[in-house]
């Protein structure tokens, strides 16, 4: 990573935790973990509370739907790290990679429900252009997404528009597929806290 403190600046308790993670998972510690564990009172803990609520809090969207949103936002931001990470979680959540591959290659033809497609389209525009207008919202509502579902999707979008920027700016190192799979298993079992 571009800041040495994020690789090596953690306290001794956290370094011991990293050693344990490496021993148990037999994978290197993912850079996103190193980031949230660095001075966690500043960013990690309050951000994890937001992310956990967005990704695992009560919502009409399934966990898998929300991972599709995360991966699409990441891809739209050009963040390869986050795209791979959340494609792996979505694959785990749905039991296979068909939906996530289809959504990332062509949203318009992906085998998903219309309210989800319209919501993903909305998040894509918001991420790409930084703004959306009332007509964009009316289009998603007309496709069957409820006001509450749109609000929930915007919270997912917020979390991943933050994390993707940090991944790119701090220069997260791409991990192996096995390391992303191990991370995905953890997130599916334990959530984002």
């Amino acid at each position: 990573m571009r800041l040495a403190i994020l690789d090596r600046g953690h306290g001794s308790g956290t370094k011991a935790l990293f050693a344990l993670i490496r021993a148990v998972s037999r994978q290197p510690v993912l850079d996103v973990i190193k980031l949230v564990k660095y001075r966690p009172d500043f960013y990690g803990r309050p951000m994890q509370a937001v992310t956990h609520e967005a990704m695992r809090g009560p919502s009409a969207w399934s966990f898998g739907d929300r991972e599709l949103m995360a991966a699409l936002v990441a891809k739209t931001n050009g963040c390869e790290w986050c795209t791979r990470a959340h494609a792996a979680v979505a694959e785990g959540a749905f039991g296979d990679g068909t939906k996530i591959s289809a959504v990332l290659s062509d949203l318009e033809t992906a085998p998903i429900d219309e309210p989800l497609r319209a919501t993903l389209r909305l998040l894509g525009k918001l991420t790409r252009q930084h703004v959306v207008n009332a007509d964009d919202m009316r289009a998603a509502l007309a496709a069957g997404a409820s006001r509450e579902q749109i609000e929930d999707a915007l919270a997912v979008c917020f979390a991943f528009n933050t994390i993707g920027r940090l991944a790119d700016t701090f220069g997260f190192s791409l991990a192996s597929s096995k390391a992303f799979e191990a991370g995905a298993k953890y997130l599916l079992a334990r959530g984002y806290r």
């Binding site: 800041l3 040495a4 930084h130 959306v132 964009d136 009316r138 509502l141 917020f158 994390i163 993707g164």
Partner: protein, 102 residues
């Protein structure tokens, strides 16, 4: 997702108003992407608008301006959350406009 607004509020309050190594004014300016001098203005603007374009040189320039790694860490976090917040707030306002009773 009833707790999301409170959780977001706590996050923003922490990074902008809580203790830190960068000044409160610097963190606020990074969050707003406004009023920063070079080289930070370039770095923060890239983080906000196209973070994938950030290079080693952008971080090196911030270091050369006598900023510590902890200060750069805080400023980048504020820049990222600030932009994501503007997107989120703008979208919620659009949703309000779309669902307002005639």
């Amino acid at each position: 997702m009833s707790e999301i607004r409170q959780a977001r509020k706590a996050l923003v309050a922490r990074i902008l108003e809580g203790g830190g190594k960068a000044s409160v004014a610097q963190r606020r300016a990074a969050f707003d992407n406004a009023g920063l001098a070079e080289p930070l203005s370039t770095l923060v603007d890239k983080v906000a608008k196209h973070a994938y374009k950030v290079t080693d040189a952008d971080i090196a320039a911030a270091r050369a301006a006598a900023l510590s790694e902890d200060q750069i860490f805080e400023i980048v976090v504020c820049a990222a959350i600030g932009q994501a917040t503007r997107q989120y707030d703008g979208a919620l306002a659009a949703l309000d406009a779309a669902t307002k009773k005639e």
